[in-house]
């Protein structure tokens, strides 16, 4: 069910007022709802305080799409990165047959209020002394913000201890993504970049690899401070060889899985501007089998969203899709469209 109304961009007001306005517009004064919007990257992000409300209004381009879900039915997983554009990942489906089964969500805090900026991954397969960190770089202004340098580290080899050259984090930029995660620190040794070992590679090569992967950077480090390591139960109980997660047949596909998945996601983002002047993401030229897969994925998403969103029966309008989508027009003075700065030939 759609509503469309305008809002003064310069004076958006407070979130409370906006919330009230929404309830009023949809005539649902006593229903608790979750409010979300799609940002410029197509991510569904929550609106639940003044700050992210203002942010949302400022990103209006000039339309702002707002999604409203009833709180008790809300699907928190709908929020986060790539939620609006994520396509079916064939590989992950094949490798992880359990993907289709809907796992019950364990809500620890309020993930719906955030989007991930970093995560520790593959804890179950890495040695305890290592840490694999994934940094999510959105097209935002926030820099990745770290520097690397050459150094030497000590390795255990068949010939005893040997000093070998290594790559280390040399500096974190204050306010940068790397620093804000708290997962990386100065003098951490970099062991892998997106699954590729850096040993034998020069500082410049590693720099290039990191920059090339900067939109979805996964670095495996040996932290300089080894006191904050994750301690796993499986180790202490003595069954070190076995993984506690039964869903994983062995650890290797998981590495592959997570890394490849990351790669897939980060990739199909090239933008094409056809002569219409409208920027679009470049689709993948899909072979037949793959398109079927992606179709089914879309259906899945629909189902899940239908579950979470307000049932249409409560609405006055007879609406089959079940979701409420509104487009808010925000006047935007002086915005340059793409064709203006371009050629002498008008499109």
């Amino acid at each position: 069910e759609f509503r469309r109304f305008s809002l003064e961009r310069s004076k958006p007001g407070k979130f409370e007022e906006f919330y009230g306005l929404l309830q009023h517009v949809h005539k649902i004064p006593n229903v608790d709802v979750l409010v979300g919007y799609t940002d410029i990257h197509g991510d569904l992000l929550p609106i639940n305080n003044d700050d992210n409300y203002h942010k949302a209004v400022s990103t209006a381009n000039p339309l702002l799409r707002i999604f409203i879900q009833r709180k008790e039915d809300a699907d928190y997983s709908a929020f986060g990165t790539d939620t609006m554009t994520r396509k079916k990942n064939v590989l992950s489906n094949v490798l992880r047959p359990d993907n289709h089964k809907k796992k019950p969500h364990i809500v620890i805090s309020m993930p719906q209020d955030f989007r991930p900026v970093s995560s520790i991954i593959d804890v179950d397969i890495l040695p305890e002394t290592h840490r694999r960190v994934r940094l999510y770089k959105y097209g935002t202004d926030k820099p990745l913000g770290f520097y690397i340098r050459d150094g030497s580290s000590v390795r255990v080899t068949p010939h005893g201890l040997e000093k070998v050259p290594g790559i280390f984090i040399s500096r974190l930029v204050p306010g940068g993504l790397a620093q804000s995660t708290g997962l990386l620190a100065v003098n951490d040794e970099v062991l892998e970049v997106n699954g590729i070992e850096v040993s034998g590679k020069s500082l410049d090569q590693v720099t290039d690899m990191m920059i090339a992967n900067s939109r979805n950077l996964i670095i495996t480090v040996r932290p300089a401070n080894q006191r904050n390591n994750v301690v796993r139960n499986s180790r202490t109980s003595g069954s070190s060889g076995q993984s506690t997660e039964s869903s994983l047949p062995s650890s290797t596909p998981n590495i592959l899985g997570s890394l490849l998945q990351g790669e897939e996601e980060s990739d199909e983002e090239d933008i094409i501007i056809e002569d219409s002047g409208e920027p679009q993401q470049i689709p993948k030229a899909a072979p037949a089998s793959e398109s079927i897969e992606s179709l089914s994925q879309i259906e899945l998403l629909h189902e899940s969203s239908q579950n979470g969103f307000l049932p249409s029966s409560e609405m006055n309008l007879n609406h089959s899709a079940g979701s409420i989508s509104m487009e808010y027009e925000v006047p935007e003075p002086g915005r340059k469209s793409l064709e203006e700065d371009g050629t002498i030939i008008t499109l």
Binding site: L144, L203, D204, T207, M209, A212, I273
Partner: protein, 959 residues
């Protein structure tokens, strides 16, 4: 799905790869970097050049080339051929001697190092005792005489390098026979020259540095004659009949000494200071050549008046009343004379003077009047003005080839017609399969056309763009026109001229259409010239247009150089490529990409600000597109700000050097306050260490953003006839790729030929692709329905290529520094990609489509991408599936200029600069391989009892 396929272990493909690809560095073109020694064998008619990096190169007839490299990488000080042998001895600056020989192996000769040897003195003797200063290979071929700094002359057996201690000629033995009153032990320090008597192999002439010259009898082990020069000796030369010899001296004089059995007089016949009477520089080497008409040729190096001409690098030739001092732009390393080598001939009869200067080889014809220079078929000075870019065109049609040669021959009339005098060995390489041109652009605004078909890189034609512009330098300024009365009679020779009058003239991009003879050349100050080949001289006006790439965008100010001023009115051009259109970009930034379509008569050019399209038929600018990001201020400031930072970094590095010097000097300081110094040193070192810890080499990890500088820099331009708008109609299109990962596609409407002059060419932007990884786009290519790259313009019209498949769907290949991506056309959707940087940490520097033929069958060939990375590796990547085929390390990754200079040919060969003056040629193909293959036969020695002439050419060079 492609991920599930195991990477290439298809045995059939693996076998095919072996038939297609193979990496070889085949030949070095150009002039050896930092030559340090020269040798010549009149017997083999081969010349040898040694370099400061320990390389030794042999040259004979065109195509006959050998190369060797000393393991030590030390400077080659002297080269001596063993008389009448295919062997030579080199002396390095670490005092080691090396014996090289040419041996036939598998039907061709090869240069190999056979032995090495370092002279060892008795224990406890100073190193100078065995420091070799002069080498004389004896004509018996059995021994080598080694003169040393100590004055001893050691005798070494060949080829074993065994020292024959009993035959050592000691200063004591020499002094025994010489009256004590004018000689002492010090007279015999440092052997400067050793010369074998031309007629009597049992006599050698020994010249000591202080001026004493002794004729030594090897049979009786005694000095038969001695001669006492008053000046420090530089060199010696025997006259052909052995009755006289010449000595040359430090003060710029030379003396002629008679040698006769009865007369032991030690006074010179003649003592001359050719450029006296004021103090002169040393004459370091001299030749005295007899001729039939009686007047000798006296040829010597140096001897210029010290005060006014002391800085000249000259070689003087005196023949009767004729005297010329050939003036070289770089230091003279050594020289030799080619003369009659027949031992029975009565006279030397010199034919050519061969001079090795630091930057070029100059050969002077001594037979023709006026002593003109000979055009060398190899050892071209590629760097006579610094090379700024290069462009290779394969398989030139015969017609164009002949026209270029004819244009070039008109430029070469001042050269001698003498055949190349160094003509030893036989070239047995098969004739080059096709005619290839290598075009080099230079800093002085010239383009040189080289015949790159075979082993000898040979200059065909030189094109200058200077004439179009008004520059400070007068083009008629001829260095050779010196007044009659001028003394010394200097004459400039050679082509090496590293000084550029105006750096804006520098050539940055070249594009030659081999079918139409259209040539586009673009330079440092945003100038783009389109030229046409004309066989006659002509005078005409060059049409001039300006392309404002900023299009009146506000707030920009160009702080770089000004645009070049053009000459008004008609300009006279010599036969060859003559410009008819000049487009000047505004701001006048360096042209960074260039494309020419000779069929549509369009030229496209790009700078750091944008790109434009010019119709050179109607002489009309079709459109310009600004690619500048509004926040990119750096691009506007021009090259100046970068120079500043370079200066700064230079200053810093100098400081660092100075500091380290100071510290090392301190360390050396000894004496009473040693501990104090040490303490200070320790403190200093600690400071330095701390400083280093504060600022280690570190690299910032940051995603590329649209605001990065130079994102608008246009890296590549490409014309294609393809499906841009819809899949039913194809049309001409122009593609441009920028440093910021953007690809622009313009749809062009070119009027049909009959209305070409009446209707304007139109262009419309059809697509813009922004690569999310934002890496610079270095290559754009359209593949036709059969996945074959589209042919070059006019290639199909000339029946040299199948017409492209316009039925199937076309694909677009975009190569960025980090990835290869294939998109479908006309609807752009990504189809395939190959990530390079994310996986390997290397970036694409150069990419070209190359055709690889199988060495097994003639009917199989395929197109692949040849890629050079910033690590200096070459990778071959298959089309259209983008699979890595093979990888070869090629250039050291530190060799940035080598990597930047690399060009690939269309048939899997390539060139890159290994020094400012040398191209290394390499081949990736099993089929197209241009490498020297030659035989050096031992010329037959007619009679065994004839007197061996000493190898006087290999005069010992002063170290």
């Amino acid at each position: 799905m492609r991920r599930f396929l195991r990477p290439g272990h298809d045995p059939v493909r693996e076998r095919l790869k072996r038939d297609l690809f193979q990496f070889n560095k085949t030949v070095e073109h150009g002039f050896p970097h930092q030559p340090s020694a020269l040798g010549y064998s009149p017997f083999l008619r081969l010349m040898a050049i040694g370099t400061r990096s320990g390389a030794i190169k042999l040259y004979g007839a065109p195509g006959v080339e050998f190369m060797g490299l000393h393991e030590e990488n030390n400077t080659v000080m002297q080269i001596h051929f063993i008389p009448d042998q295919c062997q030579l001895v080199t002396l390095l600056d670490d005092n080691s001697l090396h014996l090289w020989s040419l041996k036939q192996h598998g039907g061709a000769s090869e240069l190999r190092e056979e032995h090495r040897f370092t002279l060892k003195g008795p224990p406890g003797s100073p190193p100078s005792a065995t420091q070799v200063t002069a080498v004389l290979p004896h004509s018996s071929r059995e021994v080598l005489y080694l003169g040393t700094e100590s004055g001893n002359i050691f005798v070494v057996e060949l080829p074993s390098f065994r020292v024959l201690e009993d035959r050592t000629i000691t200063p004591e033995a020499v002094l025994q026979r010489i009256p004590e009153d004018n000689c002492n032990r010090r007279s015999c320090e440092l052997v400067e020259a050793l010369r074998e008597h031309p007629k009597n192999p049992d006599q050698i002439l020994i010249g000591y540095s202080r001026g004493l010259i002794v004729l030594w009898d090897l049979q009786n082990n005694k000095a038969t004659h001695h001669f006492l020069g008053s000046q420090q000796l530089e060199n010696l030369y025997w006259q052909r009949d052995g009755s006289k010899f010449i000595s040359c001296h430090y003060d710029g004089s030379y003396s002629q000494w008679p040698v006769s059995s009865d007369n032991r007089q030690s006074e010179p016949l003649e003592n001359t200071v050719p450029y006296g009477p004021f103090p002169c520089k040393a004459i370091s080497k001299i030749y005295w050549q007899t001729t039939k008409n009686g007047l000798p040729y006296i040829i010597f190096q140096g001897g210029m008046p010290r005060a006014s001409y002391g800085d000249r690098h000259s070689i003087s030739v005196i023949h009767g009343s004729q005297q010329t001092a050939f003036d070289f732009t770089s230091r003279v390393i050594d020289f030799f004379i080619i003369f009659s080598s027949d031992p029975a001939a009565e006279f030397d009869d010199p034919s050519a003077l061969v001079v090795l200067a630091e930057e070029e080889l100059v050969v002077i014809d001594l037979k023709s009047a006026g002593w003109p220079a000979v055009h060398p078929p190899y050892l071209a000075s590629l760097h006579c003005s610094a090379i700024t870019c290069s462009h290779h065109v394969s398989n030139i049609p015969l017609k164009l080839w002949e026209r270029i040669i004819s244009a070039g021959s008109k430029q070469n009339i001042h050269y001698s017609s003498m055949p190349w005098p160094i003509d030893g060995g036989t070239n047995i390489a098969p004739d080059p399969p096709q005619r290839d041109l290598l075009l080099t652009g230079h800093e002085d605004g010239t383009v040189r056309f080289w015949d790159a078909s075979g082993v000898c890189l040979h200059l065909l034609y030189k094109l200058s763009t200077v004439r179009v512009f008004l520059t400070d330098a007068d083009p008629n300024d001829n260095m050779n026109t010196l007044g009659e009365e001028e003394w010394p009679p200097l004459r400039k020779v050679g082509t090496f001229d590293p000084y550029s009058d105006d750096p804006r003239l520098g050539i940055q991009k070249i594009y030659l259409c081999k079918y139409s003879g259209y040539l586009a050349v673009a330079g440092t100050a945003g100038q783009v010239l389109v030229m046409e080949l004309n066989d006659e001289d002509a005078e005409h006006v060059v049409d001039h247009a300006e392309a404002d790439l900023l299009q009146d965008q506000e707030g920009y100010r160009w702080k770089g150089h000004e645009k070049l001023k053009t000459r008004d009115g008609p300009v006279r051009f010599e036969a060859g490529f003559q410009p008819f259109v000049l487009v000047q970009c505004q701001p006048p930034a360096v042209v960074t990409s260039l494309a020419l379509h000779s069929e549509w008569k369009l030229v496209a050019f790009g700078t750091s600000h944008g790109f434009g399209l010019f119709d050179h038929q109607q002489k009309r600018l079709v459109f310009v597109k600004c690619t500048l990001h509004p926040s990119d201020q750096l691009a506007l400031e021009g090259p100046l700000s970068r120079v500043k930072s370079l200066k700064k970094s230079l200053r810093q590095s100098f400081r660092r050097i100075r500091r380290s010097r100071v510290s090392s000097r301190k360390r050396r300081g000894a004496g009473g306050n040693a501990s104090e110094v040490q303490e200070a040193n320790a403190k200093f070192d600690q400071d330095v260490l701390q400083e280093m810890e504060l600022a280690p080499v570190q690299r910032k990890i940051e995603a590329r953003s649209a605001e990065d500088s130079f994102t608008g820099f246009v890296r590549t331009l490409y014309f294609a006839d393809t499906f841009l708008r819809d899949s039913s109609r194809h049309c001409p299109s122009l593609w441009a790729g920028t440093n910021g990962g953007t690809v622009y596609a313009f749809c062009l409407r070119v009027p049909p030929a009959e209305r070409r002059m009446d209707e304007p060419v139109r262009a419309e932007q059809a697509k813009e692709i922004q690569l999310m990884h934002r890496a610079p786009v270095v290559g754009i290519l359209v593949l036709d329905g059969r996945s074959t790259p589209l042919p070059e313009p006019l290639e199909v019209a000339h029946d040299l290529s199948k017409s492209p498949d316009m039925q199937g769907s076309h694909q677009l290949l975009v190569v960025s520094e980090e990835q290869f991506k294939v998109f479908t056309l006309p609807k752009v959707s990504s189809k395939l990609k190959l990530k390079l940087t994310a996986l390997e940490g290397c970036r694409v520097r150069k990419v070209t489509v190359a055709n690889f033929g199988s060495c097994k069958t003639d009917d199989y060939s395929e197109n692949d991408l040849a890629v050079l990375t910033n690590l200096g590796d070459i990778q071959i990547i298959s089309l259209p599936f983008l699979k890595l085929q093979i990888r070869y390390p090629c250039i050291r990754k530190e060799d940035v200029s080598g990597i930047a200079s690399c060009v690939f040919t269309k048939y899997g060969q390539g060139f890159y600069l290994i020094s400012p003056s040398e191209f290394e040629r390499f081949s990736l193909s099993t089929k197209w391989l241009v490498e020297p293959r030659c035989i050096v036969d031992m010329p037959e020695v007619t009679s065994n009892n004839h007197v061996h002439k000493s190898d006087t050419e290999n005069a010992a060079r002063k170290s």
